[in-house]
């Protein structure tokens, strides 16, 4: 049963949620471009962000100041990432260029295990909600949850900020350069290992923002990052590993695909449509929508 109204509503809902997925994917692909590793614990930083948001909103600021809480959560997650990187990730590099990929994979999976189980041990399996005072917003004739819309707008703002940082600042220049050549950046006198530290912090900070913004929508519990992270991974394959526009476009595409799939095909399988999209892209254009042609290393 096709109705134009349901279609438009699903489309908008898909774009709204897709923007937040894109934020997650952006964090993954950004860390990959600079530090040359996949951070498998991304969902746990998302979880951390949502817990900080919960405790700030419930214990300190109240639901009206959710945006202050989201900023603080992002800063807190950035700081945690910035502090963890030199201890756990840096030993992957010997001399800044030679790297051990298996080390990074295993260590970030261990970090995932550590954070997830620590959260379960401390919090229990309870699902918490920070609550929200944002009511339903009418987009023309169509209702949309205020919390979701606010989350999407803030995610857009975070992306713009991220883009300004990359394109307009010295740090951004150095980061873009190191994504092209780790050797070249070092020859130019930049301390690549400090750059890695900042990049890792920013990347997990983006996951933290996503977690904080989605806290009232998807609730707060120790494994709440799994679904969003899986979508993040699907998005970077669909969009092309290492491509920032790819992450944004593919994020919205995935959000729309699963929203329409849930409305018109079957809703229990909502979280499986992303994988179907991933398979389709791998069959047709393996390097992803915006991916460069395959290069080794």
């Amino acid at each position: 049963m096709f109705s134009a109204e349901l279609f438009t509503q699903s489309l908008i809902a898909g774009i709204v949620i897709g923007i937040i997925y894109a934020l997650m994917a952006l964090g993954i692909t950004f860390i990959y471009s600079i530090v040359k590793m996949i951070n498998w614990a991304m969902g746990e930083f998302y979880m951390l962000g949502s817990f900080v948001q919960y405790f700030l909103v419930v214990g300190l600021l109240g639901p009206d100041l959710w945006w202050v809480a989201a900023l603080l959560s992002a800063a807190a997650v950035f700081l945690v990432g910035w502090l963890i990187e030199p201890v756990l990730i840096k030993p992957m590099f010997t001399g800044g260029i030679e790297r051990r990929d298996d080390y990074a994979t295993v260590v970030t999976i261990a970090l995932l295990l550590l954070m997830r189980n620590l959260a379960t041990a401390l919090n229990g399996p309870y699902q918490r909600s920070p609550g929200t005072n944002l009511g339903t917003v009418m987009l023309g004739p169509l209702p949309e949850s205020g919390a979701r819309l606010a989350a999407a707008l803030c995610a857009l703002a975070a992306m713009v900020l991220f883009w300004v940082l990359l394109k307009k600042t010295w740090l951004g220049l150095a980061l873009r350069a190191s994504s092209q050549s780790r050797v070249g950046v070092q020859i130019a006198g930049v301390d690549i290992l400090r750059l890695d530290q900042v990049a890792f912090g920013i990347g997990v900070g983006l996951a933290g923002v996503a977690g904080a913004l989605l806290a009232p929508v998807f609730l707060v519990f120790p494994t709440n990052g799994v679904v969003t992270t899986t979508k993040g991974f699907e998005i970077i394959v669909i969009g092309g590993l290492g491509s920032i526009p790819g992450a944004v476009v593919a994020g919205i595409l995935l959000g729309v695909a699963e929203s329409l799939g849930a409305a018109f095909i079957s809703s229990p399988y909502q979280n499986a449509y992303g994988f179907v999209l991933l398979l389709a892209v791998l069959l047709i254009k393996p390097s992803g929508l915006f991916g460069e042609r395959m290069r080794h290393a």
Binding site: I38, A110, L113, A121, L241, N271, A272, L282
Partner: protein, 316 residues
């Protein structure tokens, strides 16, 4: 046949049989729960050893090993319950299903950079988990699917013979696989794929073969495990199972054939007896894994070797 190659052929078989005998003797001193823990340890030995062949020897990470075990368990379980087929039909069918899915997934992603396999298998495993939960009309979702047991008496001791035999056969098979000429190609791919390619190795074919074979082994272990635990739930496809396999391999010795064999049982035994304290066992294992990766990446095998080297000179 020279003496050396005869030794190479018989030594692993003798060692495996000796270990099997030791396990069976040990089980005489254990209660029913102890034997159950041994059975599950042997299941994880198979999973850890096969995952290590892919990750440790070929340098390609699959994060869906637990999903292939789940595919094996559910395929065999569903065929047996819905179509009343005997287990000697359903278990080979389950292995075939795991092999087929492994081959298709491998064909899609193994042409690309190494990280693609890890990402795609992560998404694949999550999707299998979602499907098992969502298709409750078929799989009964979180309620659990009751499947027939292998032995009617349900005594863990009879299963101990089964799992010991299964572990011996799988481990010897994997050992032959790694020691065959293909094993050299696998290590060449791990160390420098581009160089292996330029020397004429069909790296994509080798990687696909290894991924398919190891996924099939996981499916085999999962199929038997399903008919042992008798109630299947989507939990066996959860990422925590994958993480446990990685913990076992790293603790034992990543990239060493013996590593997972000596890493899996202590991890499984500890986590079985620490289960009553909640999630803390996994917190501890995570810290141990980070410690090993950071300061002793060779795992227990390396520690034992280092200890042996310190002891030996005083003896001779």
């Amino acid at each position: 046949m020279s003496a050396l190659s005869a030794r190479r052929l018989w030594l692993p078989i003798l060692l495996a049989l000796a270990c099997a005998a030791a396990i069976l003797v040990l089980s005489r001193f254990l209660g029913e729960y102890g034997v159950h823990v041994l059975n599950t340890s042997l299941y994880y030995v198979i999973l850890a050893a096969s995952w290590n062949v892919l990750a440790g020897f070929t340098g390609r990470f699959s994060l869906a090993h637990q999903a292939f075990a789940a595919i094996g368990a559910y395929t065999s379980g569903l065929l047996a319950t819905r179509y009343d087929l005997p287990l000697w039909v359903t278990i080979p069918a389950a292995v075939l299903a795991a092999i087929l899915l492994g081959f298709l997934l491998g064909r899609l992603v193994l042409r690309m950079r190494a990280v693609y396999l890890a990402i795609a298998t992560w998404a694949f495993a999550e999707t299998i988990h979602i499907l098992l939960t969502a298709a409750y009309a078929i799989t009964r979702g979180e309620l659990g699917l009751s499947v027939p047991p292998v032995f009617s008496d349900m005594d863990p001791r009879s299963y101990l013979y089964l799992f010991t035999g299964l572990a011996v056969v799988s481990v010897l098979g994997l050992h032959a696989f790694v020691r065959s000429p293909l094993g050299y190609f696998m290590r060449a791919i791990r160390d420098d794929e581009l160089r292996a390619q330029s020397l004429g190795v069909d790296t994509v074919a080798i990687k696909t073969l290894v991924f398919t074979v190891t996924s099939g082994v996981a499916g085999l272990a999962g199929a038997f495990y399903g008919h042992y635990v008798v109630v299947l739930s989507p939990q066996i496809a959860d990422f925590s199972e994958m993480a446990k396999i990685i913990v076992m391999v790293v603790v034992g010795g990543f990239g060493s054939f013996v590593g997972p064999l000596i890493g899996a049982p202590p991890v499984q035994i500890l986590s079985s007896y620490l289960a009553k304290y909640g999630e803390w066992d996994m917190v501890i294992f995570a810290v141990v894994v980070i410690g090993f990766m950071r300061f002793n990446p060779g795992g227990l095998v390396d520690l034992v070797r280092a200890g042996w080297r310190r002891v030996r000179p005083t003896r001779s």
